[in-house]
């Protein structure tokens, strides 16, 4: 049996708001979704598993109809989906009344239920979110029964507010394959067994690296899992350590060249580190360059605080470092330490 596992398609998401490529980004989730349907047809996958958050928010009627229309293109593929924390079944959800096509099974129960697809010899366990959060690990103790079926768990969550399960929980729970969603980073947590599909395409610039779908071939109770990236958009970190003599202009030219050389689908998140001096170079001009989603300026003189403390024991710098170090080490105190040292050490 061959099946495709996706999650967190986030149809209707609007990433990179305010950027020049905002409109383009809005289309990516739909394009990627249609690609997956094409792939399911091409690969003749018997099953398409969607582990929650197919929509970025509450689905609209036209969106449901469009999705259903896409599903109808693959009548030989059984589609099984659940609602995640974003497209949860709220009291007004259109999920409640929408009628899906014949090949689509929506596990909309709030409690874990089981769907048996006898012709495929598959049993799928899963549930849908009825609220934005589920803080209880409802999968604890859930077992797939080996009655000659291939058991699949379709689940969405994995952090504190969204069913705090751990990957290890599913190791000996009797499931041949745990098709997970919610965490946006795609990862095969337990080889051939427990897979977090990740977002189909990145939703914000925190979703670094490749995104796509998993194609799984099951033989008996074993699975061969293959990740297939879809490249409409990919966020890449670009960490630059500034050195003496750099100017804002030179920096911008360098970044521009790096972007020019990179594939067109890549968008960058730039982090500046190193000795930046005071305000002279702060990377603000980079934000205006194309395909730069975010610039984080962590330029702080990287002083060796221990050495400074030794050198300036009882003097202001030494006293300052010690005073700041005795404060609760939150983000503000950490920065204040650096700012102060930098200001005091400046010539």
């Amino acid at each position: 049996m061959k099946f495709i596992h996706i999650a967190d398609v986030h149809l209707g998401a609007k990433p990179d708001k305010g950027k020049a490529w905002e409109k383009e980004r809005e289309r990516h989730s739909w394009q990627a979704f249609v690609d997956v349907i094409d792939k399911a047809e091409e690969e003749e996958a018997q099953l398409l598993l969607i582990a929650g958050d197919l929509f970025h928010g509450q689905p609209l009627l036209w969106e449901l109809e469009a999705v259903n229309g896409q599903f109808s293109r693959i009548p030989k593929t059984q589609v099984v989906l659940i609602a995640g924390n974003r497209d949860y079944l709220g009291p007004h959800s259109l999920y409640h009344t929408f009628t899906w096509g014949e090949n689509v099974s929506f596990l909309k129960e709030e409690n874990i239920c089981m769907l048996e697809l006898a012709q495929l010899g598959v049993r799928i366990y899963g549930q849908s979110y009825w609220h934005k959060e589920i803080r209880r690990n409802i999968y604890q103790g859930v077992q797939g029964k080996d009655e000659g079926f291939f058991n699949i768990l379709l689940a969405h969550g994995g952090d504190e507010a969204h069913i705090p399960f751990r990957m290890q929980d599913f190791k000996d729970a009797g499931f041949d394959y745990a098709a997970l969603g919610h965490i946006h980073k795609p990862m095969e947590h337990i080889r051939g067994r427990v897979v977090m599909a990740g977002a189909l395409q990145p939703i914000d610039c925190g979703d670094m690296g490749e995104h796509g779908y998993f194609l799984v071939e099951a033989k008996g109770h074993d699975c061969r899992v293959q990740f297939h990236p879809l490249r409409y958009c990919e966020y890449r970190p670009l960490n630059l350590k500034l050195t003496d003599g750099i100017t804002e202009r030179k920096l911008a030219e360098y970044v521009e060249e790096r972007i020019r050389q990179a594939p067109a689908y890549q968008i960058f998140k730039i982090t500046l580190t190193g000795f930046g001096g005071f305000g002279a170079v702060d990377g603000r001009s980079l934000e205006g360059l194309g395909r730069v989603a975010q610039v984080v300026n962590r330029c702080q003189a990287e002083y060796d605080l221990e050495k400074l403390k030794m050198q300036h024991g009882q003097r202001l710098i030494g006293k300052y470092i010690r005073a700041m170090e005795t404060m609760p080490q939150d983000e503000v105190a950490k920065r204040a330490l650096h700012y102060g040292v930098e200001a005091l050490m400046a010539e």
């Binding site: 209707g12 708001k17 305010g18 970025h56 928010g57 509450q58 689905p59 609209l60 009627l61 709220g90 007004h92 959800s93 259109l94 009344t97 005071f278 305000g279 702060d282 975010q294 984080v296 050198q311 300036h312 009882q314 003097r315 202001l316 710098i317 006293k319 300052y320 005073a323 700041m324 983000e331 503000v332 105190a333 950490k334 920065r335 204040a336 330490l337 700012y339 102060g340 930098e342 200001a343 005091l344 050490m345 400046a346």
Partner: protein, 543 residues
Amino acid sequence: MKITEIRIKNFGKLHNINIRPLPGLNVIYGENETGKSTMQRFIAGMLFGAGGQKESGGQYAPWDGSEPYAGEIGFMSGGKEFSLERDFSGEGDALRLRDGSGKELPASQEEVEKLFGGMTKETYENTYCISQAAVETKKEFAGVLKNYFVNAAYGGEKKVDVSGAQERLREGRENAQQRYKEKVAARKEEEGRLLMKEKLLEKDAEQIRKQRQEGIPALLRRKQETVWPERETNQMAEYLRDIRQQNEQLEYKVKRGAFLAVTAAAFFACCWNAAAHHLFRSPTLGWAALEALLLLWLAFGVAGTVIWNKEARRLKQLRKEQAEEKEAMIRFASIEKERHKLRERQDKQARQEALEEMLNTQLLEKQAELTNLREELAECRRPAEDEKEAARQVKAYDLAYEEIGKLSDDICKEADPALAQEMSRIFSELTNGKYQKIGLDEKMGLVAWEGDRRLRPWQLSRGTMEQMYVSLRLGAGGIFTGEDPMPIILDEVFAAFDEKRLESTLRWLGKQPGQIFLFTCRKREMEILERTGIPYGKIMLSR
């Protein structure tokens, strides 16, 4: 550090002057307009530069550009001889430094200041270089003092500029604050846009709700323009047919009656003829012929009656059928009407249901949109990482600023007693013990104590205030230069001092180990010095 020789080539009104001051007290006497202030400026300029043409405005440059605008001083520092030459005509006061043997040394202002015990122009101007016009220390001096304490109290190679550091932090804060404001403004704008959208959506939803409540009854009230499926009839034709049929029936009846009458008449005639024949028993041919004729007549009457009767019956039957048909038709029509009514009701209900469903779906859709929008709003209200970062930075700059201020104040407080002690000692001597104690407050402002009373400089007489500042300057200067103090320049500082105060001041000055240049336009200082036998060098300036 002591000046051993002053050679002025051209500086203001002073030309080609050579002076060899004493290592102790020197009085430079001259009437007004003889160049005392110029001399004082020259000494300060030689030590720290005149700031080039720009700063001095070329005030002391010779009128004739061909003359050198320059000078030279010889001085002792750390027991070694040096000579320092400066050319004031350029932008940067070109300087040449030689040691005692005439060997040229690498010369920069920093190198020279090292020989002055690290004293800078700013510090010098605020301590040892005192003129009557500006005996008070400048505002920045508080910062200078703070820096001094922070650095010097523990002696280190790396000098820290506290006020500079705080200035840098303030700048950093401004930048961060600016960024923060921009981010917040952008977010607020977006929030406003979303709120507007929310309002519109809510309005839409409200309207749909209203339609659902009001719209359906309204729809039901609306008159249906139904065309009933009437049987296709021509009432006029029917009416005409009825009239015609009635006439026909009447005609038939009349005809039947006529024939009946004819038949009856024939019968009576026959009977009458037969009776008459029987009575008269005279069968004649005529009678027989009459009888036969009568019988024929009778037969004709009967036949006519039968025919017309039949005809009338047929018509009656036809009319009856027609009436039944009509009745059936009416009955059928009413059933049809009923059925139609039912269908109409069903249609109406279906329409209502469809409408309701449509409105419900629309409402759900609006509600879904609203949910999504509210989610977006909530997200928008959550500050983004870069905004939070900017806010953190502002806070961090504030924290660093405060902490550095607090720590440097602490350090100053610790170091303060040494300065306060020195200042108090000088002040006490200058005032002949009238005031025992002066010091600095937390803002580095001067305070004097008279018993427990805390006095600010402006609460005291001009003379006392000047003595306070002189004490501060000399006390601080002593601490700044330590063992090898810089020469003290006093330019008409004691003009407001009475004889007594001046004498005690001069006595104190005479005891000082450092070099002193006392500029005056009066002879009384020299008189007192001579009267009290304090050794001093006399330098007379004349027009």
